[in-house]
């Protein structure tokens, strides 16, 4: 009883009350001003960019995160533990530092001659950087625990390595991949620090939702900032809800 009460208070202070305050703030001007705030062309462009870039990034993460986890678990190579540690670097770096790092390498005067600063490619790049660990770290433990004899059984039944991957390995990893994707999604939708330097925050071009919200706050337009925040929050909740439903369906028979 005490535990539940504490949990309620803790969650209220940290999550529920701030969200309620956000909702209240966003509706101070009534529905018409809420609607105006989220349908302004700049806001629409920023939200669209955020959602599209995030969608692309999580798909890339799903593929490469799984691949990296696979190599880290199944292959032996010198320096493996170093590579394993590097995966967590984006976690360890303050995101603004991540922005500086990316700008140094892929910005003006790039040592490798690639300058993507102030382009949409930079948005994708920065999001990929900060979301790298999520799929890797959710797939890795599941792959470690995966019963290798399942794959041996499949191949002794005549399955080639492609079939084993498609019908045995991937279905077993799917819930973990999806949960990594959900984490990546949540992170990418709200990412700010790593983007703010390298994207240049050009309205209609490289300005993402979080940066747009920041701009509105700077301009003392708090209700508009809150309205766009609510929209992003809703989008995130819907996507996370769908992913968690799918993941639950997929893993319902596996313990």
């Amino acid at each position: 009883m005490l535990g539940k009460g504490l949990l309620g208070i803790y969650l209220s202070v940290l999550v529920l009350l701030p969200v309620a305050a956000l909702l209240a703030k966003s509706s101070t001007g009534g529905t018409s001003s809420f609607w105006r705030a989220i349908s302004s062309p700049e806001a629409v462009a920023a939200i669209k960019l955020t959602l599209i870039a995030t969608a692309i990034v999580v798909v890339i993460n799903a593929v490469f995160g799984t691949l990296i986890a696979w190599v880290l678990v199944r292959d032996e190579f010198p320096g493996k533990s170093i590579v394993n540690a590097v995966i967590d670097l984006p976690f360890a770096l303050p995101t603004i530092v991540a922005g500086v790092v990316l700008l140094a390498l892929y910005g003006k005067g790039s040592p490798i001659g690639i300058n993507v600063a102030f382009t949409r490619v930079a948005v994708g790049l920065a999001l990929l950087f900060v979301t790298l660990p999520f799929v890797v770290r959710s797939v890795q433990p599941v792959l470690l625990e995966l019963d290798y004899s399942m794959e041996e059984a499949a191949s002794s039944l005549g399955a080639g390595s492609g079939t084993v991957l498609r019908r045995i390995v991937l279905p077993s990893l799917a819930p973990a991949i999806i949960s990594g994707v959900a984490l990546s999604f949540a992170r990418a939708v709200g990412e700010f620090g790593s983007l703010v330097l390298i994207t240049g925050n050009l309205p209609f071009k490289t300005e993402v939702g979080s940066v747009y919200i920041f701009g509105q706050i700077e301009n003392d337009n708090l209700p508009a900032a809150a309205a766009v925040s609510v929209l992003l929050l809703a989008a995130a909740l819907v996507v996370l809800g769908i992913l968690s439903f799918v993941s639950g369906r997929l893993s319902r028979h596996v313990q």
């Binding site: 059984a153 499949a154 191949s155 039944l157 079939t163 077993s172 028979h253």
Partner: protein, 317 residues
């Protein structure tokens, strides 16, 4: 299909799992690979299945050298120790897997799956998932899955190891009857000598990566070729360098001058069998196996002095 392993060797790092092992299993035979853990029996089974590559030697199945052939082309049905169920598939899809990989028509697959589920007495459970099955049911599902593709050879790795005693006894009996029905060449690995004796037509005793002796269960019991086989198959008393079977020890109530005196230290009643722990007059301990009737006749009790007649002991050099 006959199976032959010729001079097979396998190391894992410094550990020699198999040391120049040669083995022949006749077409349609039911063979047990018997040995303690680490004896190389599972490795040999996995090499025959193609799940492990030997460092040296050849594997021949049905006259064809398959040493370098991958597992999926060997036509071998393999049942894993922990069954390796496909956890995300239901029983039907598990059993159908090999057939669907071979792209057989849907109606053929469902007919065959139904037939196999009846054979392993899992009819009615086709829609269940592995997490909803008991150990014995998982075992039978794994067997049906392996049999679905009509393998020429059936290999089972510790098939009953993880089951409780009653289910184990039932499945042993059932495996033997199944073998009589479908006559596929079968090899199973076990560390349980009783299981090997009860099920197999031929037993191959392995130890430290080598084959100690291969033969019919009775031959191994009655004419073991070395002390390892003697002590691994059947109960045994060790007296110095000599070995004596406990049921060959005769107990006499009155000394007739031909036996030695012994003190009864413990009497264990196991139903028909009674186990008697004795201390011989020279201080050595042995145990004897007598029937319930004999025990009653001798009025066995702890502290009693008996006369014991030992059979000519077997000595291996």
């Amino acid at each position: 299909m006959a199976i032959e392993a010729r001079n097979v060797g396998k190391r894992f790092g410094d550990f020699v799992a198999l040391d120049d092992v040669s083995l022949t299993v006749g077409d349609g035979a039911l063979t047990a690979l018997l040995g303690p853990s680490g004896s190389g029996k599972s490795t040999l089974l996995r090499i025959i299945a193609g799940l492990e590559t030997p460092d040296t030697g050849e594997v021949v199945i049905g006259g064809e050298d398959v040493t370098s052939a991958p597992a999926r082309t060997r036509g071998v049905g393999f049942v894993f120790q922990h069954y390796a169920p496909f956890k995300h598939m239901n029983v039907h899809d598990n059993v159908a897997f090999g057939l669907s990989v071979r792209k057989r028509p849907k109606d053929e697959i469902s007919a065959r799956v139904a037939e196999l589920l009846a054979l392993v007495r899992l009819d009615g459970l086709a829609a269940r998932y592995p997490s909803q099955l008991s150990g014995g049911q998982l075992q039978r599902m794994a067997l049906a899955r392996a049999l679905a593709v009509q393998p020429q050879v059936l290999l089972l790795d510790e098939p009953f190891g993880a089951l409780d005693a009653q289910v184990r006894a039932e499945l042993r009996d059932w495996l033997r009857r199944l073998h009589e029905e479908i006559h596929v060449t079968t090899i199973f690995v076990t560390h349980d000598q009783e299981e090997a004796m009860e099920v197999a037509e031929q037993i191959v005793v392995m130890n430290h990566g080598r084959i100690e002796q291969a033969g019919a269960p009775r031959t191994l019991y009655e004419a073991p070729s070395n002390e390892f086989v003697m002590s691994f198959i059947g109960p045994v008393n060790r007296l110095g360098d000599a070995y004596v079977r406990p049921h060959d020890i005769q107990l006499l109530a009155d000394s007739d001058g031909t036996g030695t005196e012994a003190l009864v230290e413990r009497v264990v009643h196991l139903g028909f069998e009674v186990r008697v722990e004795l201390k011989l007059s020279d201080g050595r301990g042995v145990w004897a196996q007598v029937t319930r009737e004999e025990a009653q006749l001798l009025e066995l009790q702890v502290g009693q002095i008996l006369s014991v007649r030992l059979p000519p002991p077997r000595v291996f050099v």
